[in-house]
Symmetry: C2
Subunit: 153 residues, 2 copies
DNA sequence: TATTGTTATACTCTATAACTATA
DNA sequence: TATAGTTATAGAGTATAACAATA
């Protein structure tokens, strides 16, 4: 039997023209490009973001880190567990408020955070390079207007 | 104790400037706008896409529908189960190939597919309206270039 | 041997409820 | 009473492995 690849493609109607689809493709491609860089350093995206924020905000409590990353505090626990187990982050219990813990990078964590920032810079440069002069600026502007339009009403 | 909302926001470094974040915001906003329209008609996004494709490709087998939607065939089963249970789709076993089933919309399914296409049209018009003249065209072009750049190498 | 449809399963991300110990 | 951290759990989306019936 001939493989179905040789059959005519189904008519997808309006679906291929949806702006949503172009956004999804762009985001997936961009995310995977960055994901490959993160994976080369052995971290998941949420771990990378946590390390980068902690590198610039030593002693931040988990509740504020979660808010900064747009995560539920409850879902941050496993992320911090993994980072602490690998010796990248320390939870230091505070004396003045014994409920809270100050999240601090170890030396290894700080080194890794620096490498992650370099990867982000290279990632953004690669994307911007494909968009031509002012492309990045124009894209960001259009995306902002799109976000506003979609949320309107 | 004063709520943490009054504390200075943490320094997020390069994270807020990531093009990925702008893409994510735009996609989330667009998807949720469309999701609200789908929910008003009682369907999930994958169900809506399946109905719209089947409306234009009567008798399509599941293996080709899955490929058209970019889904794994295994994950399409539950979607089709739900649509069939609600009397929107029928699996008609073929005589010439008794492994396969022709997926056909019922009358109710075809009516719903038409309504879904109208919602998609309204959705796209709302997004395009927020982007100004040629905005949609320019955004699609930039997203295409971004996708190529991210996938390069 | 390959293909269609299917079940079972697992992983990621996200979300809610409820507990503990502190304040 | 409210907050910080945690556990348990559940949903949606997506992934692989393996099976039965059929080609």
């Amino acid at each position: 039997m001939i493989a179905s690849g040789s059959l005519p493609a189904p008519d997808l109607g309006p679906l291929p023209d949806l702006l949503d689809l172009a956004l999804k493709r762009g985001l997936r491609a961009a995310e995977q490009e960055l994901l490959r860089r993160y994976e080369a350093l052995g971290v998941r995206p949420a771990e990378a973001s946590a390390l980068i924020v902690l590198a610039r905000n030593e002693g931040l409590p988990a509740v504020r880190l979660a808010a900064a990353l747009g995560m539920k505090q409850t879902n941050l626990v496993a992320v911090l567990d993994g980072l602490e187990r690998r010796g990248l982050v320390e939870r230091r219990r505070l004396e003045r408020d014994r409920r809270a813990a100050a999240l601090c990078l170890t030396e290894a964590g700080a080194t890794l955070a620096g490498r992650l920032e370099a990867e982000i810079e290279a990632h953004e440069a690669k994307l911007a390079g494909g968009l031509g002069p002012d492309g990045r600026y124009r894209l960001a502007g259009l995306l902002h207007r799109l976000t506003e339009a979609a949320a309107a009403e």
